[in-house]
Each structure stands twice: as C-alpha cells, then as structure tokens.
Amino acid sequence: MIHSLFLINHSGDIFLEKHWKSVISHSVCDYFFEAKEKAVDPEDVPPVLQTPHHYLITVHRGKLFFLSVVQTEVPPLFVIEFLHRVADTFQDYFGECSESVIKDNVVTVYELLEEMLDNGFPLATESNVLKELIRPPTILRSVVNTLTGSSNVGDTLPTGQLSTIPWRRADVKYTNNEAYFDVIEEIDAILDKSGTTVFAEIQGVIEASVRLTGMPDLTLSFMNPRLLDDVSFHPCVRFKRWESERTLSFIPPDGNFTLMNYHVSSQNPVAIPVYVKQSISFFESGPCGRLDITIGPKQTMGKTVEALMVKIHMPKAVLSANLTATQGNYTYDLPNKVLVWDIGKLNPQKLPNLKGILSLQAGAPKPEDNPSLNIDLRIQQVAISGLKVSRLEMFGEKYKPFKGVKYVTKAGKFQFKCAALYEPFLLSFWTILFFYFTTF
C-alpha cells in the first residue's frame, strides 16, 4: 500500500527516507517540489499529487512534510490518517516532531518505521505496544545507556500483544494511583464588523493521564452531555454505553492519551469571551493610515482572560507602525507584514487600547481598510461550552485513586473580519483635518 516515505523540510531537503517494497529514486519528489514552487505558501501544496507512475500523498506537520509514495489506488483517508499517526508517534516519543529531533534520533526513527509498517501495510501503531518494543529516549536513559551499554530496544515480547486489550499492557503497578483529565476547548469563530457571530464552533478535547495499577474499569459522566455533537473516542471507550447512557465507560490505556474529541457546533449559542472595537483606515491622500483598537471582555463566565494576543495581517504597502499601547507591547514584523500586540491579562476596569499611525510605501495605491484580526487568548478553569464532568468512578480494583479534572479554554481560529469592501473612503485627509479643528 505505502511504498516509500520521504521526510522533507520547509526548504525542500529530503532528510530521511524509507522504502518498504523496492527503492524508489529521490527524483519522484521533484513533482512535489514543482508544486511547492508554484504554491504561494508551502502549506498550500495540495495533499495529493499525481505523477505518471505514482501518487504522492503528503501530510504537513510542524514544518515537515511526510510524503508517501503510493503505486496503486488507495483510500486517501486511510493513508492520511496513517501518516498523521506516524507523526503522532514521533511526537509522543521525542516530545516534538521536528527535523532536528528526528535527525538526532534517526536510529529510533528507523526502528519505529520498521515496526509500524511491513510490506507497506500498517502493523503496530498503538503507542503502548510500540513503547514496549522500542523504548522512548529520555535524558536519564541516554546517560544510563552510554554508561551501561543497554539501549532503547526492548528485548522481550510486548505483553500488550498477548493481552486481550490491545491498548493496555498487563501487570501495571504504581505506588501512587492517579487519574487526571484535562478538558481543553478551542473556540473557532468568525465575527463580523458589528461584532455579530458569523460562525462559531467549539472544538474540545479531553486529554487523560492515567496511572493506575492493574486493570481498572473507569466510568466518566458529564453534567450536561447533550452539549456534545460530534464525538470521536479513543478505541477503548465503549460506544454502546455512550449511545444509551451518555457516559464514557472504558478500560484506560496506561499513561497519557486522548480520551475524546468533540464539537459543540453552531446549533448552540457559543459564548464569545471578548469584543473588539477597531478602526484601521488609510488616507486617500498621503502615505499613512490610522489604527485604533480596543478590546474588552464580553462573556467570560466570571473568569479572567489571559495570554491575550492580537495579530493583524497588514496590507502589503504598510512599511512601519508608530503606535502606543496602554497595556502590553506590540511588534511589527516587516517581512511578513504582521502586527502582533501581546496584551497579557485583560483588566475589565482598564481596557487595553492600541492607537497610532501606520506609514505606507509612497506611491502605493490605497490599501483596503480594516484588515482581519486574529485573536489568541486563554481562560483557565472554565470550559466555555459549559461542559462539566460530574463524577469519575472506578470498578475492578480495590484501591482509591487520586482524581482530578482541569478546564482550559483557548482561542483556536478566532477571527474578527472587518473588511468592508466597497465603502468608499469618503472623507479625504483635509476633511478630517477640518473636523479635527472644528471639534477642538
């Protein structure tokens, strides 16, 4: 199915390759490079490319391209999902999925790829099983390895492959038994000029960190499970129980895993935590413009908005920005034309404001007013959808575990779209000046 895999970085170097059937020459990647040249942004390269003898299916993860070469017709979702699984495994093993990390651990990477695919077919992809076959590198272990000569390769048959539950190894033992769940929600929203919601959706994920002895059977129930629309679970969750009782019942994998992903879609009203008042305008005459942005809290459920950050993609003609911020500081990244305003904590008593003059390239045509704003934020201890875990019960084992739930809300793709396309800028520079003098 999957013939070969090439790992390619953003500048277009192939730094790792692996072939499962026969060796395919590098030159097959030229089709990819050609498409990459053509694309405005390297991220715009389409995921499936057709070449005379192969298909190239590419997945983009953290500045890396995972390019697989396929010779026959395949189900595309299958290959894409698998490539993401490979990237997930690297992330899981090395903490991040980047070129330098993969190069440092190249031997482990080869071993992993060897175990994950045989003859182009997925073999072992469950992280628990893999971790017993090939132990992940840790700093302590690499020190120990150099001293004692042991290595990262397990020399016993993974018990997980023999246990009846493929995602959990047998005979787990801990002195401290604990189960923690993080409910993380991201708001994807597009708001228009007047602040009304064009589109809003919440993407949530429950990350679990479970360290429990033996074979525990957990049941997690919610106060308001009806909120959840589209859910997708870790394979351990019993789907029948969810359909009938709306509770999550499962034998957890050992360690960290993603228990479920969910959406709270546009059917339910989504709380928008902040509002933005902005005016960015460019004068018809003279190479400058004016910017005035204020941010205030809207529906925050009584919590503070933290790590607030505003990103504005400026029109190409903007050369520099001379602004004053009442809170936080701003930077203007000239090559990418991005203005970043890092605000930090939002104080409802004193709203942060950014104001000043933008200077334009002389002679350039007047750019469009009010470019879109992207907002980043974080609210601790609340899930903005209102989702709450009511209880966690454990069956099958005698001891009492520590339990904990944490909630975080973040902004995902959170965008204020303010482009008013054809409002001609009626007031010329002089009229404004005139108003200015008459008002004062």
């Binding site: 991220e43 995921p47 983009h60 999902e81 080869y110 064009v198 394979p235």
Partner: protein, 650 residues
C-alpha cells in the same frame, strides 16, 4: 552525497569492527555498529563494511541484530554473493526460542529482496506459518507476498495459497488481515482473493476485533462480494451499521463505500446511508488535520451530486478560515456554491465577497468565479458585487471578474447591460492573456453598446506587434471584424491596418491564415460576411439555472473513497467555478459554447479545438478552404472542427 573524508571514517569503522578486542566487548561492539548505521543515515557510503557487518550479525544481542539487519537490508542488493553468508545466521535465528528473534529474522530475510535467495527463504517461511507465536505468523504471511513480488512471473504454489486461506481463521486478527493482504497481492492476476459466503460472514463477524487499519482493509475487499439474497444483504447492512458512524474517518469512508457497492440496486437504501454519514463527514470536515478536512470536503462534493440538499442547513461549516490553505478554501467555495438557496444567498455572497481579496490570487479568482456561478440564479446581487470588485483596480481581480462576466453573459443575456457599462476602463488593468481574451469576446458580442469599444480595440491593434499570446491575436481579429460589421465608420481604418499586419508580417500560420480568410470573406460582400460572423450571443438552452438535477448514486459510487475525487482535475471536472479559457477544461456545457463561438468566428478556435499534431493536417484543409471560399463550406469546416473537438475531448 558522501561527506568529505568519508573514506577515512569507513576505514576507521572497519578497523574497529574487525578488532577482536572490540568484538569481545559486547558494549563496544554494539556502539561501533551503531556508529556505522549513523554514518549510513547521514549519506556516507558504508557498503564496504558489508563483510564485517555480516560477522557482527552472529550475536546473541537482539539490539545489535536489529541494527545489523537495518544495514544489511539496505546494502544487500549491492552484494548478492556476500548476502548468502547472512542467510545461514538468519535461518539459525528462525529456530530461536524467543519469538521476537524469530519474527525479526523472518522479516529481514524477506526484506533482503534478492531473487537468488528465494530457495533458502521458502522453508523457514513455511515453518513460520505454523509458528506458535502470532507475531511470527504475521510476518510469515506477509513474507509470502514479498517473495511473490520478487518473482512475479514464478508459478504460484497452490499449497501455500491454501494454507493462507486456512489462516484466515487464525485467532489473531492481524494474521487474518495480513492473509487477506498477502492473498490479494499473490492472486492479483486472478482478480485477488476469492470471496465467498462463508469467508464474508467470518470476516464480518470478526471485524470488531481488528484495528482501524484492518477494518478498512476487510471492508475494501468485501466490496467484491455479492449477497445471494435480499435477506442476506440486509443482515450484512445491519452488521455494518455501527461502523458507518464510526468516529474514525477511514473506517466510515470504507463502510460507506461498501454500502454503496452492496446497495447499487437499491437507491433508497443508499440515500438513507448518505444521510446517516452526514454527521461523521461533517466532523471530519472540522478535523484538526487539514488533509483529512480536504479529503472529507472532496467526498462531500461527491455526495452532493446525488443529494443536493444534504448539507443545506450546515452551510456555515463551509466558511473558510483565514489561515486555511488555498486548496481547502477553493474546495469549500465549490461546496458553498452548491448550497445556495433563497434564505442564505445574502450571507453566502457576503462571505464570498470577503474571499475575493484573498492574498492568494488563485483563491481570489476561485471566489470570483464562484460568485459568477451563483449569478446564474441571482444575477442582480452578483453583478453588483462583481462591478464593485472592478473598483479595486487590482490586476488579477479585474481579469477574473471580466472572465466571469464573459461566462455569465453567455448564460444570462439579461445581464449584458450592466456588464457593458462595467467594461469601460478596465482594459488598462488587464495584463494576462485570458483576461484580455475575455474582454475582446465581450466587445465582439456587445460592441455596439460599449461606446469606447473602438478606442479599446485601437489600443490593442497598436500593440499587436508586441503581443505574445496567440489566443489574444485570434480573438482580436474576430472582434475587429464583428465590430466592423456594426460600427463600420469607426473601425474600417483599424481593421485594414490589422489585416495588413497579420497577412504581411505575422509569423504565426494560424493568425495569418485566419486573417486571409477574413480578407477574402470581405471580398464576398458585407451580406455574406454578416451571415458568417453573426452567431449567437448566448445559449438560450441554458437559461436561468435553478439547482442541478440529482444524479443517480451509481454515477460516482465507484470513485468513492478513492483518489479520484481528490485529483486536481476534479476541480474542472466539477465544472463549477472553472474558467472556460483553456482547452483542457472542457465540460459539456462549455463545449456548446466553444462550438457556437466557433461558428460565430469561423476557425478562430482551431488552436484550442485541435490538438497540436493535427495542426499540419489542418493547415492543408485551410489552404483548400481559401481556394474554395464559399461560406457554406466554411461553416462546414467549422462544424468539422467541432467534431474534432468531440473526438478529442481530452
């Protein structure tokens, strides 16, 4: 690319590997092997170490074995003779009490990819099929497929095939799935693994045990099964119901594919299945992986062909985010165009309007032509937006708008007034040949209503010497001719200049011949010219477009869950938002237009109509035409061209 000084490094490594002191110390030995592998992954050619590595293979240390195998598998093809030495060690390992060693040895034995070694590998592989440990059987099963790939022409061993069929009932689900995969490869010539009723039911019953990948594989292979009775069919369908709403997109897609295959005779059941996957598909559209999102979108497009109302309520899900890659945005727009109705049209157009100023010109163009498509049903609103866009004075936007207007006018002639008034003054903003061609076509069709048309044309004719695009020159000739017919006093002089230039100085045969043709046509008198040149300005048969009729599912079911809907060509194949100005993008409806336009301006579309190799042949036809010169005959020829077109729809 070998690094500088790599020879020294290799020599150093070889010395270390053959040093008895190193060999006796397991730790040092292993680290030296590790160094060699590291060098290999950095691109240093370490194939010279082959014989040392073969020796290093004979060790009890599993880790070292693994490392050595990685080395051997990459260099075996370079050293077929030396590889024979490895086989002995590998065969010994196949007897090892540790199942992990056995599976490792077996896997690497088959990964050496040397046809000369096949005879030594067969026996351990056969033993592997009967091994106690599941992990060895998994490897052995796939090993047979690899052997077959090494010698695709060799005779298939019936005993092995039988044994593999037997292993379909193996207690380990991975062995079962691997058997399917192996049989599929080995029996490729006979059409893959044979699926009968007992096998089908066995596979379906054990579907739940296998992992996501296995389930997809089984579901894909089951597509070949035809249930014997309707009862059996419905039993299978109810077994599959849970996987149809599986949270894993690949499983969901594979199940739906199987559903559509099984229910090809029962359209009502298929439609119900499509309704059922709406939720999971929409969830996949919101997945964090952009590639999954893209694939899901492409498949939604397929579904919409049969169930146009499927996503109506969820149109907001297809609004584009700012940071989404261009390929997703373009697909989303194609979907949005399908979802337009009276209630959401204002909102959709507002949204699409926002995309028209996207940083990526291709996305902007796609948005503009999407608005043009909507314009077929809601022409007033869309024209207002399109004329507004011209005010932005951006080159790529103006070009896309003019092309879109050109397409729109062809379908909705009632828009022509607005379009004509919008055309004034946009020729300065048009830089690319497609945009200029579209402008010329519009001037030809509605020249009498655009007051500045002769001035625009004059500008074109003055610059014709430096014009590079063949298409623009051809279009210019026809436009000038047609404008001459309706506004002779203003254009006579420039037509003369243009014809003179094209006949006397132009190097391109196509342009020259067409100019000659027009010249002689004019000799036949103005009446005749009028008859030939005045074709239709629009296609009344298309009229106002009110939704597309739903296609039967069977039209696309075969391509569901394959790469076909994802292909680049799919963009044009769908025909929505595609521009008409290149000869690779022919959808049936555009085809009509090219035909009629070819009639309107005889032979002007030859360059787009006929593939290159035919050009010389056509040249002959043209010469013949010139001597004959009877307009009926000319029309015949142009019809002729259309026939070429339909023969080579590319």
């Amino acid at each position: 690319m070998p690094y500088l000084g790599s020879e020294d490094a290799v020599r150093e490594l070889r010395r270390a590997l053959s040093n008895p002191n190193v060999q006796s110390d397991q730790l040092r030995y292993r680290n030296t092997v590790l160094k060699a592998i590291r060098a290999m992954s950095q691109g240093v050619d370490v194939s010279d170490l082959f014989s040392e590595m073969v020796k290093a293979c004979a060790t009890v240390d599993i880790v070292q074995k693994k490392l050595v195998y990685v080395f051997l598998c990459s260099y075996a093809t370079l050293n077929p003779e030396l590889s024979l030495l490895v086989i002995n060690t590998l065969r010994k390992d196949c007897q090892d009490p540790n199942p992990m060693v056995r599976s490792l040895a077996l896997r690497n034995m088959t990964n050496l990819r040397l046809p000369s070694l096949v005879e030594y590998v067969e026996q351990p592989l056969a033993a592997g099929l009967r091994d106690r440990a599941a992990c060895v059987r998994r490897v052995a099963v796939l090993g047979w497929a690899k052997l077959h790939n090494l010698q695709p022409d060799a005779e298939i061993d019936a005993a092995v095939v039988n044994e593999l069929y037997g292993l379909l009932r193996d207690p380990d689900p991975v062995v079962m799935v691997n058997c399917l995969r192996a049989l599929e490869e080995i029996l490729k010539k006979e059409g893959g693994v044979a699926i009968n009723k007992p096998i089908t039911h066995h596979l379906l019953n054990r579907l739940k045990e296998s992992d996501v990948w296995g389930q997809c594989e089984v579901l894909r292979i089951l597509q070949r099964y035809h249930p014997q009775s309707e009862d059996e069919l419905f039993d299978i369908l109810s077994l599959l119901d849970a996987s149809l709403v599986s949270p894993h997109p690949p499983v969901m897609a594979a199940t739906l594919g199987l559903f559509l295959g099984l229910c090809s005779g029962l359209p009502a059941v298929s439609l119900a299945a499509l309704e059922r996957v709406r939720g999971p598909l929409l969830a996949a559209c919101g997945s964090t992986s952009r590639e999954t999102r893209f694939t899901a979108l492409c498949h939604i497009q397929l579904l919409l062909r049969s169930l146009p109302g499927l996503m109506g309520a969820h149109y907001k899900r297809f609004f584009c985010g700012y940071a989404e890659p261009a390929y997703i945005k373009q697909r989303k727009m194609q979907v949005l165009v399908e979802l337009v109705n009276d209630e959401n049209v204002a909102m959709l157009l507002d949204e699409l309007k926002g995309y028209c100023t996207d940083v990526n010109p291709e996305t902007a163009q796609a948005a503009i032509s999407a608005i043009g498509r909507i314009g077929r049903s809601y022409s007033d609103r869309c024209l207002e937006i399109l004329t507004g866009l011209l005010g932005l004075k951006q080159e790529h936007i103006t070009s896309a708008v003019v092309q879109t207007m050109c397409d729109l006018v062809w379908v909705c002639p009632q828009c022509s007034d607005t379009v004509c008034s919008a055309l004034e003054g946009c020729e300065e903003m048009l830089q690319d040949s497609q945009g200029r061609q579209a402008l010329l076509w519009l001037l030809a069709a509605y020249g009498e209503r655009v007051s500045s048309a002769p001035y625009t044309l004059e500008g074109f004719i003055d610059r014709v010497r430096s014009e590079a695009s063949l298409g623009v020159k051809m279009e210019l000739l026809t436009t000038t001719m047609r404008l001459f017919l309706c506004r002779p006093s203003e254009t006579q002089d420039m037509l003369g200049r243009l014809l003179h230039y094209c006949i006397e100085e132009e190097m391109d045969m196509c342009v020259r011949d067409q100019a000659l043709l027009y010249y002689r046509l004019l000799h036949c008198g103005i009446e005749e010219t009028h008859k030939v040149l005045h074709g239709q300005r629009s296609d009344p048969s298309l009229g106002v477009l009110i939704g597309r009729p739903a296609e039967p599912i069977n039209q696309w079911a075969y391509s569901f869950n394959t790469l076909e809907p994802l292909r680049q060509a799919g963009f044009h194949q769908v025909g929505w938002g595609a521009s008409v100005h290149s000869h690779f993008q022919i959808s049936p409806e555009m085809f009509n237009r090219v035909q009629v336009r070819a009639l309107a301006g005889p032979l002007k579309d030859i360059h787009r109509v006929v593939p290159k190799p035919l050009l010389c042949y056509l040249g002959c036809v043209l010469r013949f035409v010139q001597s004959a010169l009877e307009h009926v005959f000319i029309q015949d020829v142009s019809v002729h061209c259309c026939i070429h077109l339909s023969l080579n729809p590319d």
